[in-house]
């Protein structure tokens, strides 16, 4: 193609800046783009489901949905870049003697319409992404009236959970199914990251500050709580077993950790008369509550239960905890555990 023809070509064209949209190069790139897009969309729809662990809460499902939606939205854009770059390698590559430069290509210094279209599409995508993100984020901020409070204390290199009003303080986390839960998280030494991954929520445990995250487990299952913020020597070992169980099992578990039956039932949201541990909810397939091995039981001290028999489980700590009084002292000296007021 001569120089003049190329210039005519540029002027005659709007979108792809060199060829009519469905002519040779444009058409082939379009087909490659379609194929790449399809691959990207398929990966986006199917891969996250297999890569992610089973997610146990709506927030967890949000993570999965977000990945799917974002991948599907990004696939055409990425596919376009891949299509053009691959096509350029195969179709426009200078063959022959590589020691000398090929003749100059067309003097195309830009393409206004293409730039505008590109800008418009990417802006539109950003608006969609942002709308999605903010909508999902706002739905996650909804607070519930009757929440289960769990105080979480991080320290090097262990998490301690206490259930206010029950006197239960453990190093494993158990949560009742379909009960909104509010984690009040703080740290006694350095910054830790409280990360119950499959619940789809995460927040740092900062010393002298209480941070709050909320979620509602909606599937039964076991998982691991990890620390997501490098916190020193044994950061890798700062994790513990956790499980979402039925309310009845949760009540039983609380009692096994030292709570009285009345308190445990109240915390678990089951009526005392119906606390048969064998009941499972309909439609739940993976009812595998585990009593986690004995190491945790040794840290528990029954003497802490006495003053708390009637306390409802709604005592939220202040936003700033000056000296850690609303959380229990660390497990290292658990024999002197004091119950929250």
């Amino acid at each position: 193609m001569s120089f003049e023809e190329q210039v005519d070509d540029i002027e005659a064209n709007t979108i792809l800046g060199g060829e009519p949209f469905f002519s040779r190069a444009g058409g082939k790139i379009f087909i490659i783009w379609l194929v790449f897009t399809a691959i990207g969309v398929l990966i986006g729809v199917y891969a996250p489901h297999h890569l992610l662990p089973t997610l146990l809460s709506p927030q967890g499902s949000d993570v999965w949905k977000t990945i799917v939606v974002f991948t599907v939205l990004a696939a055409p854009v990425a596919a376009f870049v891949y299509a053009v770059s691959f096509y350029s390698l195969f179709a426009w590559r200078h063959k022959g003697n590589q020691d000398e430069p090929p003749p100059d290509a067309m003097p195309q210094r830009g393409n206004g319409p293409m730039t505008v279209v590109w800008l418009a599409i990417s802006s539109l995508l950003v608006v969609v992404l942002l709308f999605w993100g903010i909508t999902v984020w706002n739905t996650q901020q909804v607070t519930h009236a009757d929440t289960l409070q769990v105080n979480v204390t991080g320290q090097q290199w262990v998490w301690t959970y206490s259930y206010p009003g029950t006197g239960v303080e453990t190093r494993t986390l158990e949560l009742p199914l379909n009960r909104p839960v509010e984690f009040n998280i703080t740290s006694v030494d350095v910054t830790h990251g409280f990360w119950p991954a499959v619940l789809g929520v995460q927040v740092d445990a900062n010393p002298n500050v209480t941070t709050i995250i909320r979620t509602t487990p909606n599937k039964l299952g076991n998982f691991t709580v990890r620390c997501s913020q490098l916190c020193g020597l044994y950061h890798a070992f700062m994790n513990n077993k956790a499980a979402v169980v039925t309310p009845q099992q949760f009540s039983t578990w609380l009692q096994s950790q030292g709570a009285t039956q009345a308190v445990a039932d109240q915390s678990a949201g089951v009526s005392s008369s119906a606390s048969s541990p064998t009941t499972t909810l309909p439609g739940v397939t993976t009812a595998t509550p585990t009593t986690v091995p004995g190491e945790t039981a040794t840290t528990l001290t029954p003497d802490a239960t006495a003053p708390t028999t009637t306390a409802p489980a709604t005592t939220a700590p202040a936003a700033t905890v000056p000296d850690g009084t609303t959380t229990t002292t660390g497990p290292a000296d658990s024999t002197t555990t004091t119950a929250p007021a």
């Binding site: 120089f3 060199g18 890569l51 992610l52 927030q59 993570v63 990945i67 974002f70 991948t71 990425a78 870049v81 891949y82 770059s85 350029s88 390698l89 590559r93 200078h94 590589q98 430069p101 090929p102 100059d104 290509a105 067309m106 003097p107 195309q108 210094r109 830009g110 393409n111 293409m114 730039t115 590109w118 990417s122 995508l125 950003v126 992404l129 942002l130 993100g133 999902v136 030494d189 910054t191 990360w195 991954a197 929520v201 927040v203 740092d204 900062n206 010393p207 002298n208 500050v209 941070t211 691991t224 990890r226 997501s228 913020q229 490098l230 020193g232 020597l233 950061h235 070992f237 994790n239």
Partner: protein
């Protein structure tokens, strides 16, 4: 054509016996000697006087590092000129010529040398050394992670290695393009004889040189166990190594600030006749935008690290909550530096990629002005996104929305840069020499890094991914797969000009394939780990992450093999490569129009610029030429060989 009346080369000037003054006696060895001596003196004195007091070890380490840095810079000659200025004994013309390297042969590479080409070469070697150190540490990390409970490293050593790997790589990537290429190439590109402040240029190199031993010393001072982000209060409690770490950063900040100011002033004031801002090669734009962003980021780094030092050495409580401080203060100040810094790393190599793509597609840069606007937009947005690193710290949850907005907005100008890159390739005559291989690899990697970034910009998804290996994989795709591969393309592209020799492209292609495959395997393994929920920076992990980690480690070994082959190719080229012609790529920018090796002050005759360097296919003579015979200060100068065509060239400008 008449024969050229070449003026004598400055290198051949005969200097008097006293030229250079004190500089004659100073070189890297006196620098090391003075540095070690003063460091030792500082250690002895501070140990004797301060060791027993509160924070004694921290004071001793800080004093020792300060002694080393000041001593080294005395020994190399950093302070000569300022002190001579203060005393009113300005350096003479002969002194200046001596310091620029006249009559010193190869020794000038080991001295305080103000020639920008020497500084650029020094930076290139330093960056290679830093990458070798950081890469070795990365291999140790991956080796540790090849099994779930490896006993290769103990956790303390592992944490120290993770920290130093991170910070060494950050230092190396910040200077990997703005050091070698913005110093060596960029002044020639704009037709300048040197940088605007040659002495500051030499200073920026030797100051960063003196910073490196500080960070390596951390291994012998207990190791920094807090990661490169050194989140307080863990870092406040860390071993004395943290003081050396912070001193390294403070010294590094001085270097980067000086270099950034120098780069910008050079471009603004030192351009050749006719080299308007609109005719600058795109790489020059990338350099100054990156440098400007660095000037924004570095004060925050300085403040963060100074506060860290005072917290550790004098007992202030900026970051200790119990005594009135806050870890969130550290996180804010650190990321106010930290996110712009990512784009300080990224923008110059991306601009280099555009430059290279244009040369090897034999096409003008697609959307030159649009690309510049894109860089400016990225830089402006980059200063408003820092809190996306803090989505899950609990700080200001109400700001999640605004920071999600600014973060996702950055994908628009980044997309524009992609458009410019593939637009440059569009219907080009793709000349697949070695630099072009890395340009393609840059495109393929960087799009993955970009797409995975949008998951992390979304707060609900970030609550899953924050602090896990997905983040690691994401930023390695952008910084290694994107920025560093772009810098690799730049090395392959400018190596003939810098060394005077060609690279062996057959070896280079072996390196390319190993690197290309290694990156994908390594970081897809880490994406997999991230999806499964494996946290970052752990020395041990649960068995369910085993397969993904083994995949990543295998990829990392492949990657290492690729870099070793690449290193061999560079060393081989430097020693035995074919002698390079002045313009092996038939490029149109000015640095290819000067002889190789480039003479002192670059241009025997002043260049004249009548258009930008992207006149491919326009059928006009190059608008950026160095006339080889015209007298240098003739204001009516026209380019050699294009006499009478000036009007035609200008008409072409209205295309």
């Amino acid at each position: 054509m008449t024969t050229a009346l070449a003026p004598p080369l400055l290198e051949d000037t005969k200097l008097g016996p006293n030229a250079g003054g004190l500089y004659e006696r100073l070189n890297i060895w006196t620098g090391l000697g003075f540095g070690i001596f003063l460091g030792f003196v500082a250690w002895v004195v501070s140990h004797a006087t301060l060791q027993g007091s509160n924070w004694g070890s921290d004071m001793v380490v800080t004093c020792t590092m300060l002694g080393w840095v000041i001593g080294f810079n005395i020994g190399i000659g950093t302070f000569n000129a300022p002190i001579r200025w203060m005393l009113g004994h300005d350096q003479t013309h002969e002194d200046e010529l001596y310091v620029a390297g006249v009559g010193q042969g190869r020794h000038r590479y080991l001295k305080y040398c103000t020639d920008h080409k020497v500084v650029g070469t020094q930076y290139l070697v330093l960056v290679m050394v830093l990458f070798a150190v950081g890469g070795t540490l990365a291999m140790m990390i991956r080796t540790q992670l090849i099994t779930a409970h490896s006993s290769f490293l103990d956790p303390q050593t592992y944490n120290a290695i993770v920290t130093v790997h991170g910070m060494v790589m950050i230092i190396a990537t910040i200077v990997m393009v703005s050091g070698p290429f913005a110093n060596f190439i960029m002044p020639i590109m704009i037709g300048a004889k040197d940088m605007a402040f040659p002495r500051l240029n030499a200073m920026s190199f030797w100051v960063i040189f003196s910073a490196v031993p500080c960070i390596l010393a951390t291994f012998f001072l207990g190791g920094v166990n807090a990661g490169w982000t050194t989140y307080a209060p863990l870092s406040v409690q860390a071993p004395p190594a943290m003081d050396a770490f912070a001193m390294c950063i403070i010294v590094f900040v001085v270097s980067v600030t000086v270099a950034g100011v120098n780069t910008i002033v050079t471009v603004v004031t030192m351009r050749a006749k006719g080299m308007t801002m609109g005719r600058l090669p795109i790489f020059t734009w990338g350099s100054i935008i990156g440098a400007g962003l660095g000037l924004y980021a570095m004060p925050a780094f300085l403040l963060a690290m100074t506060m860290m030092i005072t917290d550790r050495v004098t007992g202030t409580s900026f970051f200790v909550a119990a005594y009135g401080g806050s870890g969130w203060l550290w996180e804010n100040v650190f990321w106010i530096m930290g996110h712009p810094e990512v784009y300080v790393i990224l923008i110059p190599p991306v601009a280099a990629v555009l430059e290279i793509a244009s040369t090897f597609a034999r096409k003008p840069v697609f959307g030159y002005k649009v690309a510049i606007a894109g860089f400016v937009a990225i830089a402006s947005l980059a200063i408003m996104v820092w809190a996306h690193h803090m989505f899950t710290t609990g700080w200001a949850p109400n700001l999640a929305g605004p920071f999600m907005l600014t973060t996702e907005l950055i994908s628009i100008p980044t997309g524009i840069i992609f458009l410019c890159t593939i637009g440059t390739l569009w219907k080009g005559s793709i000349w697949t020499r070695l630099p072009m291989y890395f340009v393609y690899l840059f495109i393929w990697n960087f799009i993955i890094g970009g797409v995975t970034g949008i998951y992390l910009s979304d707060v609900p998804a970030d609550q899953y991914f924050h602090g896990d290996m997905f983040v690691t994989a994401h930023f390695h795709y952008t910084l290694l797969g994107g920025a560093m591969i772009g810098a690799t393309a730049a090395v392959c592209y400018w190596f003939p000009k810098m060394s005077g020799r060609m690279l062996n492209e057959r070896i280079g292609k072996v390196a390319f394939w190993l690197i290309a495959i290694g990156i994908q395997v390594t970081y897809f393994g880490q994406f997999w780990e991230g999806f499964q929920g494996m946290p970052r920076r752990v020395a041990y992990y649960d068995p369910q992450f085993l397969s993904a980690n083994q995949m990543s480690t295998i990829g990392a070994y492949t990657l290492m093999a690729g870099w070793l082959v690449f290193l061999y190719m560079m060393l081989h080229g430097w020693r035995n490569g074919k002698i390079a012609p002045a313009n092996p790529w038939h490029s149109k920018t000015l640095e290819w129009k000067v002889p190789t090796p480039v003479p002192l002050e670059n241009f025997l005759v002043d260049p004249v610029v009548t258009s930008d360097p992207y006149t491919y296919g326009e059928g006009v003579p190059d608008g950026q030429e160095v006339p080889d015979f015209a007298p240098s200060d003739d204001p009516e100068l026209v380019p050699a060989g294009s006499a009478g065509s000036g009007a035609q060239t200008d008409a072409g400008g209205d295309h």
